[in-house]
Symmetry: C2
Subunit: 332 residues, 2 copies
């Protein structure tokens, strides 16, 4: 492995001069610059990032913490981040918690040890411990996907979950549905578990509709859990439902599957809507009405916020709320 010292010797200049050429800093004559550049070209020399980082305290690496890599949400968000980070010469160090809440904090620490320049966290919860850990972080952290307490000082990017859910509910009610069931997820997840459900309950109440126990079910994001949630709705209270609002597309697909198998016509007897605009939701029949979130945009926004912090433009804790788009299809 060649070092700057070797290059200096070969080019017959000092290490200082080589470093100057490398970084376009200070004064270097054309002659010296050429000599150095030639030697670099010949030798295929590449400076050591570690030595560099050791001095400059910059790594050009951003740590990203995901709940799981292979989900539509995660990978599209990372794609978006990568776009803007890549442009600025940053690379992404990926870690996955595999849905283990404890690991979120663990990885937060691990990444700081790696001395990344910043961290993006695709959060699944907003527990106090987590918030505290973020606040204690030595490097800037941006949270994507979860509402953080407004006084926490933590920048974040979220989708308008409440608004999206309201819009979907209004659409359901606008089409004459009254006995609407809900399939959600546990409350630890603010964005998906709490906000969307609250929208459902609020709209139901506003219209004086009842949202009793059997018509409100909880799943775990999987298609299967949607299927089972639907089956519970119909085995219990039974039949007295004319629409189901699933908090995510995947659970919605589970619901749809159950309905199909149970011989319940969609949307004739029961309408189904979801959130997420997954590929599958487009191709089932009837195609599912859903809400489109542009995850790539969320990734980009998160990256941009982090970058602006890194560049010292720390104009207060940004909170960016991303818009959504209602995709009306045939399941409603």
């Amino acid at each position: 492995m060649r070092t700057i010292k070797d290059i200096a010797k070969l080019a017959d200049v000092s290490r200082t001069t080589v470093s100057r050429v490398l970084n376009d800093s200070g004064y270097v004559s054309e002659k010296s610059r050429k000599k150095v550049l030639d030697v670099i070209e010949e030798t295929g020399y590449v400076p050591s990032q570690h030595a560099k980082s050791l001095r400059t305290k910059e790594t050009k690496i951003i740590g990203v913490i995901l709940p799981k890599i292979s989900t539509d949400t995660s990978s599209r968000t990372v794609d978006g981040m990568n776009e803007v980070f890549g442009e600025k010469g940053y690379q992404i160090l990926l870690t996955s918690t595999n849905l283990d809440k404890v690991k979120e904090i663990e990885h937060l620490r691990l990444l700081q040890n790696r001395q990344v320049d910043g961290i993006v966290l695709l959060a699944t919860n907003t527990d106090e411990d987590l918030i505290r850990e973020i606040q204690d972080s030595k490097v800037p952290v941006v949270v994507i996907g979860q509402e953080v307490p407004h006084d926490s000082g933590i920048p974040s990017v979220v989708f308008d979950d409440y608004g999206a859910a309201v819009k979907l509910m209004e659409a359901l009610i606008g089409s004459g549905r009254r006995k609407i069931g809900y399939v959600g997820v546990e409350a630890a997840d603010q964005a998906v578990g709490v906000l969307r459900k609250r929208a459902y309950l609020d709209v139901m109440e506003r219209h004086g509709l009842e949202s009793g126990a059997p018509s409100v079910q909880t799943g775990d994001f999987s298609i299967e859990s949607g299927y089972e949630a639907a089956s519970r709705m119909f085995s219990d209270g039974t039949g007295d439902i004319d629409a189901i609002f699933a908090a995510t597309d995947r659970m919605g697909i589970g619901v749809w599957k159950y309905l199909r198998e149970a011989g319940i016509s969609v949307p004739g007897q029961v309408a189904v809507v979801g959130i997420g605009s997954s590929e599958t939701s487009r191709f089932i029949e009837p195609a599912m009405t859903t809400v489109e979130y542009e995850f790539e945009a969320a990734g980009r926004a998160g990256a941009e916020i982090l970058l602006s912090i890194l560049n010292g433009f720390d104009n207060g804790p940004d909170k960016k709320i991303l818009d959504f788009k209602l995709i009306s299809r045939d399941s409603l």
Copy 2:
């Protein structure tokens, strides 16, 4: 930021001793060890990875080059890799070429500059330039997804694309289909573009069946391109086709969509099969017959090969061929 020097001073020992405690090396008395550990606990000290890597030449980081992050194939493979790398304390530095072939080489270089310990490349081609660049690499590289020349000395993990395609074709023919069309991708992609097509052509020939021009089409992996390929098949030669083998599920879904819209019954008039076992393929109607590749396993296998090389067990260039599973559903 605290350094080992601060800790040494606070614990009233030398940096050497602190380092020994940190790395469990050399002789350290229980007393000293406790003092050091206590100070570390109190201060929340974390050693600098850069300083460490500078000396040890180890980063515990693996570079991963993907064609695109947000695809099922990529993200599942990364998930698998992450599983085994994570266990061994390695982290993943992600880069995406966004399907730009030139960038594959560029990123290969970039990652070496980052002095990653190893590189995993999800390849989309096997051009000479790329192979040469890999061979010149200072750090070990494992290729996933593409057959590399057997004499290149490059370890790789591939799926049995030819075998899978043959099996699918035999199933088609076994069900009585004779006029089988093919929707593939360009030949730069060995695995998908060449191998699967060759299997198609071989099987057709073996059975004395004709595979003329209009019934062999090329797409670009997208659903839309599958749709268009199908439409070309039927506008040209027209009608004289009783099955379509799509090289990927997504293109297969495009084909299915076209058939549906054109009022051609599936599988009554035309059967459709794909490769990949995507989620959507399961839920369309009729559900699509396809081949399941376990991408997570490919990721794991790639990671294991790389790890064994890093540990000095360099038992020749491994080439691992992964099995597949035929998923028979209703589209055939």
